[in-house]
Structure formats: C-alpha cells, structure tokens
C-alpha cells in the first residue's frame, strides 16, 4: 500500500488550462461581504457572541495550535512526505513545554516544544526518507509512540514535582500578553453600542488587540515566514520541487534527501511549537491534551489546499465555531441561521454556474437550517459540541473542490532510481 489515497471524486486533476486566480481585491470583497452577512445575522438575532471581541479572542487562541499543525503538515507535504504523525509530534511538543516550562519558564517551554517536535519529525524522516517506510504507517507509529513516551517520562519527571502528577506537569508559566490600552477601551465602547457592522468590526478589532498572547503573534509571524520561505526563496523552491517532482530536482543537483529531511524536521518543530503553545495556554502539560488537534490541523491543511493562507482560514473557521460553542448556546443557535443563509447564497451562486445538483442540495439544507432556527430557541446542548465539525464538513462538501496536493506527495523516493 502506498500513501496518497484515491483521486476519485476530486475532479481537480483535470483542467490544465489557466485557472482563474482569485485576486486580492475579489478576495477582500468576498471577505467584507461575508462579514456584512455576519453582522446582519448578529443584529437580527441579538447573539452578540457572533462577533464579540471575546469570541474573536477565544477563536484566535483555539485556532493557533490547529493552524500550526496545519502549517506543519504543509511543510512536510510540500516536500512530498505525508505527515499523519502530527498528533504524536504535538504530544511531544506539549510534554517538552511542560518539562521545560516549570523549571525555566514559558520561553524555555516554547524552545523545548520546538525541540521535541523536531525530534519527532526526525524520527519520521529517518523512517520515511531513509528507510522508505510508508508515510502513513510511520505516522501511525509515531502517534502510538509519542503519547506512551510522554506518559512514561511524566511518571519519571513530574510525579514528584510540586504541583505535578503522573499525567501532568507542574504549571509552565505564561508569556506576556499585550493590550493596546486606548484602542482596546475605545473599541470596547463602540462594541457595546451594538451598531450594525460598526460594532461588529470594533469587536473583531478589539478581539485581536486585547490581551493578545505573544505566542499568538509568534504563530502569525511563523505562518507569514513559512509562506515567504516556501514561495520566495531558493530553499523553499527546492523543497517544493521535492514534493512535486523529486527526480527532476535530483537531476538538477538538488539533494532531495536533505530537503526532505529539512522539511520533515521543520514540520515536527512547527507542530511541536503548536503543542507548546497549547500547553502554555493551558498552563501545563496534560495527558491527552492535544485531543486530536493534529488531525484537525491535517484537515485544515487539506481544506486550505496545501497553502498557508488556506490552512489559516480553515483553522480560523474551526477555532471560531469551537469558541462559539463553548461561549454560549444562543450564538450557536444564531450560527444555524448564518449557515442557512450561507447555503442559500451558495445555492444561488451554484445555480448560476449551472451546478444544479449542488445548488439543489445547498438549497434544501439551507432551507432546513433556516427553518430549524425559526422554530427553535436553542440547540440541544449535547449537539452543540459538534458544530465545528459539522460546519467543516458542510463547507468542504459544498464549496467547489479544487484541491491540488503536491504531485509526489506520499510517493517513495530513492536516489538514482528515477528517470
């Protein structure tokens, strides 16, 4: 069995003509329109949590580890190595943060998270690049190994530490949080007015300027840096060429092994950082802390079409719905309406593009959601937690699928055997 999966259903492989690229301007227009709809729904339903600064801040915090997991996946897969071991490497990151954090503080925690994640990445690189092991298998093995190792070491190091336990570390400490004083308060006043759009925008801005963790800033910088390095530097070009056409890269003197190693180790470090941030934001390392975020990050990466911007959007969407479901049921209820409206808009768009079936399905689901919203006051508490997952599936199912994984993703490579 080779990794990579079946291509059936994803029509993306066709269409070798010049595709319409979304220009920044259209992108901006779409974003503003979407925000207008959001503001309108907020005004209609009075569910202030839809756009409140608190939601935005919580969404940001929830999104960061997922975005870093996705980013990590992108680093590896851009070089042609599938990394399903993200979850395990993230666990290593959380443990490293717990280990270093309680002894030397939060920034040491960050560093150790990076380091342990990178070691996890190195293991994956040895298995997949040097030994040519199927990428999925190696990833699964790492996902088994890492939590076991973390717990084993926890018993060794944390059991007797003050405030620690067999399955958790003592507190890691936190890094500084920044608030822009005047701005935050001013925006807060506007946010409270509940003016259409203006207050919503204020909430958004306040959410990202108030009590912002430096780690969030670090993550944002890392995403931008990754984009730059992969897209704009020789190193990035060579790395991507290993994921698209390793034999071609080899034929131009690129040492494919070295770049694959670099990519997978960076991948491990990035997701390790995600783990560290998770641990620091929670205050300590905990068994089972990652809770599948590595997998969700992988989903965000696929959602984002193996691109930095896309995966950030995916993680943001996930973080947003997750924050919302934790903050209040009324907002989730309003979310149903929002989703309904979004689907109805999609139905119209798809109808104009003559995708009649998709349009019809979107119409029906959209109508059902709007009806559901209209006839109920709240969503059963048990189901609220599913909101982020349902939204992700719906978005994936109904948005047009133009996914394009790196061509040699998951394909084994050995030097001197190609061509």
């Amino acid at each position: 069995m080779t990794a990579g999966g079946l291509t059936v259903g994803a029509e993306a492989t066709a269409a070798p003509v010049r595709r319409k690229r979304i220009t920044p301007v259209t992108y901006l227009i779409v974003v503003v329109l979407a925000f207008l709809v959001l503001a309108a729904v907020r005004t209609m339903t009075g569910a202030t949590d839809l756009t409140s600064s608190g939601t935005v801040a919580a969404a940001l915090t929830a999104a960061v580890p997922i975005a870093l997991a996705g980013l990590s996946g992108m680093w590896a897969e851009r070089a042609g190595v599938i990394n399903i071991g993200l979850e395990g490497m993230m666990v290593l990151g959380t443990w490293g943060a717990g280990f270093a954090g309680y002894q030397w503080g939060a920034w040491a925690a960050v560093f150790f998270g990076l380091l342990l994640g990178a070691i996890g990445g190195l293991l994956h690189a040895v298995a997949t690049v040097t030994f040519g092991v199927d990428h999925i298998i190696s990833g699964v093995a790492i996902n088994l190994l890492a939590p076991g190792l973390a717990l084993y070491l926890s018993k060794l190091y944390f059991s007797d530490a003050p405030g620690g336990g067999q399955k958790q570390s003592p507190p890691t400490g936190d890094v500084a949080h920044i608030t822009i004083p005047g701005v935050s308060d001013g925006l807060g006043t506007i946010e409270k007015k509940e003016w259409f759009f203006v207050s919503d925008l204020a909430g958004l801005l306040r959410g990202i300027t108030t009590n912002l963790s430096l780690l969030t800033v670090l993550a944002a910088l890392l995403i931008i840096a990754s984009w730059y390095v992969l897209r704009r530097t020789p190193f990035g070009l060579r790395l991507r060429s290993c994921g698209e056409a390793p034999i071609a890269a080899e034929s131009l003197g690129v040492n494919v092994y070295r770049y694959k190693y670099a990519a997978v180790v960076i991948s491990g470090a990035v997701v390790g950082l995600g783990g560290a941030i998770l641990a620091i934001n929670s205050g300590r390392f905990n068994d089972g802390q990652t809770g599948g975020r590595g997998f969700i990050g992988l989903a965000a990466m696929i959602f984002g079409n193996w691109r930095a911007g896309g995966l950030t959007t995916g993680a943001g969407l996930f973080g947003y719905t997750d924050a919302m479901q934790l903050r209040g049921e009324s907002a989730v209820h309003a979310l149903v309406l929002l989703l309904g409206i979004a689907l109805l808009v999609l139905a119209v768009v798809q109808f104009r593009n003559r995708h009649l079936v998709v349009s019809g399905v979107a119409l029906v689901i959209g109508a059902v959601l709007v009806f559901w919203f209209a006839t109920t006051d709240k969503i059963p508490a048990e189901l609220v937690g599913a909101a982020p997952y349902v939204v992700t599936i719906l978005v994936l199912a109904l948005a047009s699928q133009r996914l394009r994984p790196p061509k040699a993703d998951g394909v084994p490579y050995r030097r001197g055997e190609g061509g």
Partner: protein, 382 residues
C-alpha cells in the same frame, strides 16, 4: 520461483522476528536509561502469562482484546486495500454499539428467541456502522471530500450524537447509580455466552467465532472473488483499474459500506459477552485507532492481522502486571509504536532485498546476467 519456496518463507519470517528483537532492544535501552531493569520487566511480562490465576486470565483477556482489535483491523483493512483511509472506524463502532445496545435491550425484544435477538442486534450494528461510513462515501464520490477529513469529523460528530441519543428520553436508560449515561442492560436472552477457560473465572467472548468468521469472509472475498480482485486492483493502480472497467466510485461506496459494517461489529463481542450495555463511562472508546495500527502491522493480511491483534492484546493486558512490578506501564505503548515502526522498516529492507533477488532471477532466466560481449548469438525474430 514459488511463493512458498524455503527462501521465500525464510525471508518472510526474517522481517517480523528481526523487528521484534530490535523493538525489545530499543525498549531495554529506554528502560535501562530510566533506571528500570529490562530483565524484571521481561519477567513481569512472562509472569503475567504463566502465573496461576493471573496467566489464564491474562490469556483470556488478551484473546478478548484481540477479538475486538481484529474486527477493527479488518474494518480498516478493507479500506486500506484500495488506499481508502477510513480513520472513522472509531466513530462507526461506537455509534453502532450504542444503537445496537439500545435495540438489544428494548423491551419489545425481551420475549424474542435468543438467536433472533442476537442476529438482529448484529445486523443492526452492521447497518449503523455502514450507514455512518456511507456518509463519508457519499461525500467522497459526489463531492470529492477526502475521506480522511470527513471520517475525522464524523468521529467527533458521532460522539455528540451518541450523547444526544443516550439521554433517557431517547435511547438511553436511567442508571440506578446516577453516575453513568447508558442504555438499559441487555438481559440474558440477548447475551452471548462466553467460553470457560481452565484456571480463571474470566470467559472467552462467545463472539470470538464471529471474528474468525469475519476473517474468513475477508480472506475469501479478497482473494477468491471478483470483487476482491477489483478492490486490490484499485489499490495497486487506480488508473489501471479504471481502464479495466472497474467503477472506482462504486468500489469506494462498497468498500466503505463493508468497512463500516465490519466496524459495526467491533463493539459486539464486548457488548454481548461482557458489558451488556453501552455506557459512556465503561465502553472501550479507542479501538478504532488500535485497529489502524493492527491492520498496518498485519499488513492487511487476514492471518497477519490475527497475529498482530493477539500481540497487541497480549501487550495491552500485561500492562497492569508491569505497573504492579513497578515498571511504568506506558512502556507497553512505546513498545507497540517501536514494533510497528521496526516491523515496517524490516519489511521494507526485506522487500528491497527480495526485489533484487527477483530481478536477478529474471536476469538469469533471460540470460542477461552476464554481459555478452558479442551479442550476435541471439537473433531477432523477423
């Protein structure tokens, strides 16, 4: 060169045995470095299989775990065979077990003949598992949604759905202790009797035979039927399969449905043979992921997965003994990870060696192994 030549068998054994030895070495090093004695650890593991009372119990528990793991592995393997990654076995089996438990304990079932009740329970579990997997299939063939994402999402959604359904107003029952949310208990008529094993009161799940049956069916379908051939062909080369007239979309739907149906059975041995209720507290909740590891370790092979499931079950069930002996039982998880990794590395190394041998054989058969300096000897057919 036959598949069963001595050389072939020897090579086949070299990989797993070498890997196990290597894994034992790695774990010894980890134990040694962290101040635990590898020998004592080994002792504790051996003890847990040989001591009176403990030994038979560990064996029975391991066999029971293996039964569950095996079913999960088959469910996973059906997809893997055609490079379809059903990460969602976990959600599928839990949802299926919950609905089946509710059905089996329903009051209108109580009078029915035992055989019928059990059969209905199993069928319901398979249907629910298949339906939940079918959602992922539907999303894939109609919208091209990667089954990796959709099944991860469906796992989480299943969790919410189960809690929703487990409310006493819906499919759940009131728990007398007030500490659990669960379905009503299945009474004796709906249970499957276990098999006694000398030396312990623990019983072997009666449904261990179901696992064997599923394994046989898996083997038969894959290696003896057209469907199995097409599944394998799709896995080896999607494009070749399409060119040969296989409808890959249909195969995706069938194999995910089958995979889901097998997943539906995962919870049944424990449900009908031991726990008798689907409880949010006490029903094993990660078997689907174990199934992935077992399938990979057993290389999707019906017998290989059986061996892998047993090994896994044994390791899992010696964990308590390690703890008692003062060795952190997490070493078991480490061992499992190292085994998976070193087994596949070993297989890969052996595979490379085997390919070289095979090419050499081909070369010999064609007479090109020795470079002929003057090639005029061989003439070209006109």
């Amino acid at each position: 060169m036959g598949r069963f030549s001595p050389r072939s068998i020897l090579l086949g054994l070299a990989a797993p045995i070498g890997a196990l030895i290597f894994a034992a070495l790695v774990c010894s090093v980890i134990l040694g470095v962290t101040g635990h004695s590898p020998i004592d650890t080994m002792d504790a593991m051996v003890d847990s299989l040989t001591k009176p009372r403990l030994g038979p119990r560990t064996f029975v528990n391991s066999l029971n775990s293996a039964t569950t793991y095996y079913l999960a592995a088959v469910a996973v393997a059906i997809g893997f065979r055609m490079r379809l990654f059903n990460i969602g076995v976990n959600g599928q089996y839990q949802l299926a077990a919950m609905v089946a438990a509710a059905l089996a304990s329903a009051s209108w079932m109580v009078g029915a003949p035992s055989f019928l009740r059990i059969a209905l329970t199993l069928i319901a579990a398979m249907l629910v598992g298949a339906a939940w997997a079918g959602l992922a299939a539907l999303l894939k063939v109609t919208r091209g949604v990667s089954e990796v994402i959709s099944t991860i999402m469906l796992n989480a959604i299943a969790t919410s759905l189960i809690t929703f359904l487990l409310s006493p107003d819906r499919m759940g029952a009131v728990d007398p202790s007030g500490n659990d949310t669960r379905t009503a208990k299945i009474d004796v008529g709906g249970q499957v009797d276990g098999l006694s094993y000398p030396g312990t009161g623990s019983k072997i799940y009666g449904l261990v035979f179901l696992a064997v049956l599923v394994g046989l069916a898996y083997w038969f379908v894959l290696s003896r039927t057209r469907f199995g051939f097409e599944l394998k062909a799709t896995g080896l080369s999607e494009e070749a399969a399409v060119a040969s007239g296989v409808s890959v979309k249909r195969m995706v739907v069938y194999s995910l449905l089958l995979s889901g149906a097998a997943a539906g059975l995962v919870g049944m041995p424990a449900l009908l043979g031991d726990i008798y209720t689907y409880s949010s507290q006490n029903f094993p909740s990660t078997v689907g992921f174990t199934g992935i590891a077992v399938a990979l370790l057993g290389r999707n092979h019906p017998l290989g997965m059986g061996v892998a499931a047993l090994l896994w079950g044994l390791l899992d069930n010696t964990a308590n003994s390690l703890d008692v002996a003062g060795v952190p039982k997490e070493i078991v998880a480490i061992m499992q990870g190292v085994i998976v990794l070193s087994v596949v590395v070993a297989y890969e190394l052996v595979r490379r060696y085997r390919v070289r041998l095979e090419q050499r054989d081909v070369g010999r058969a064609l007479g090109t192994t020795k470079a002929p300096v003057n090639a005029d000897a061989e003439e070209v057919p006109a």
